[in-house]
Symmetry: C2
Subunit: 195 residues, 2 copies
């Protein structure tokens, strides 16, 4: 097994708030962290609400990033971004040659997701992306506090180490927590605090 360095470069993506079913563009922020401590850089892009362009767009900004060479892993906050814009993590892994870790605060409710996805003409394709994300694992960060994750391109023990070392400040890995704070402020003008 490769050694997971404390300063491993992680790129975590999250979106800002948006109007559901608007088909509008929603800002997506990528945050490069060294481990869970040092914020190294920011990427800004956008995807279409309920579109299916997230895999292509995120893969492109990762591959074009000047951080690319240092990056060791991509993190996503769930496999949807901008509503039901699903991410094909197998495709992202192949085209970036980087491992992908998908983090969920709650156990995803596949039954509910399936019902929502049935509203889309391309249901089959979207459901395929969900299956391609693979098995959902659970780990505890603190006592009685679990997070759920999927991954590709790493061993289970490596994934657990990376999640643990990046959850320095909360139950969410720092790159994802900070990406969400930034993307939210872009849309709402302010984020964090007693929001």
């Amino acid at each position: 097994m490769r050694t997971i360095k404390q300063e491993i470069r992680i790129l975590g993506f999250d979106d800002g708030p948006f109007i559901p079913r608007s088909k509008a563009k929603v800002p997506v922020i990528g945050v490069v962290f060294r481990g869970g401590n040092f914020l190294d850089g920011i990427i800004k892009t956008e995807v279409t609400v309920d579109g299916l362009d997230a895999t292509r767009i995120l893969t492109r900004v990762i591959n074009e990033s000047k951080h690319k060479e240092q990056l060791r892993v991509i993190m996503l906050n769930g496999i949807t971004i901008g509503g039901f814009n699903l991410i094909d993590i197998q495709d992202m892994h192949e085209k970036t040659t980087l491992p992908v870790i998908v983090v969920n605060r709650k156990m995803p409710n596949k039954k509910k997701i399936k019902i929502a996805l049935k509203n889309f003409d391309d249901f089959e394709k979207r459901w395929e992306y969900i299956k391609k994300a693979g098995r959902i694992y659970r780990m505890s960060i603190e006592k009685n506090k679990n997070i759920y994750f999927q991954f590709i391109g790493l061993k289970l023990e490596e994934v657990k180490k990376i999640i643990k070392l990046s959850c320095t400040r909360s139950l969410i890995p720092e790159p994802l927590r900070v990406a969400h704070l930034i993307a939210s402020a872009l849309v709402k003008g302010e984020s964090g605090g007693r929001a």
Copy 2:
């Protein structure tokens, strides 16, 4: 002297890149940090390149922020933002009731600034803001590495403590370093790394 807590809430502002003399709007990002470690929230606003609206706009977003109650100090990266948009730190201090610390990586060259400001019809007013920022102090962060600062609303020793505890990752206080990374990414699509 008040005790400076390790987790003191600092709000640091910086701008993104802009076209000089464009009179355009430039994004300004405020980052709330607990000390030099935990990023607590983000504020986004904008000011006019070479305008004189920065004091009013930043004072307003500070006073309207849901972080306001927790904030203990404002940090600025120099007293200009968006070109020669000068900040009246005395006015900002009075209207927010918060201390203000201005950090400069280099000793500001007042002679050069004066020549540049002479191009403005309201030179007298802008020069007054510079005088109101007060004496420039120096401190060393690492061996042979100095930073320069001005302040209002605190004692000198308090200011030094706050700068030291916020420079956790570099020679720039974390709120200012991260504000710059975010504001740059908004304009250029990406920041940090080998930029």
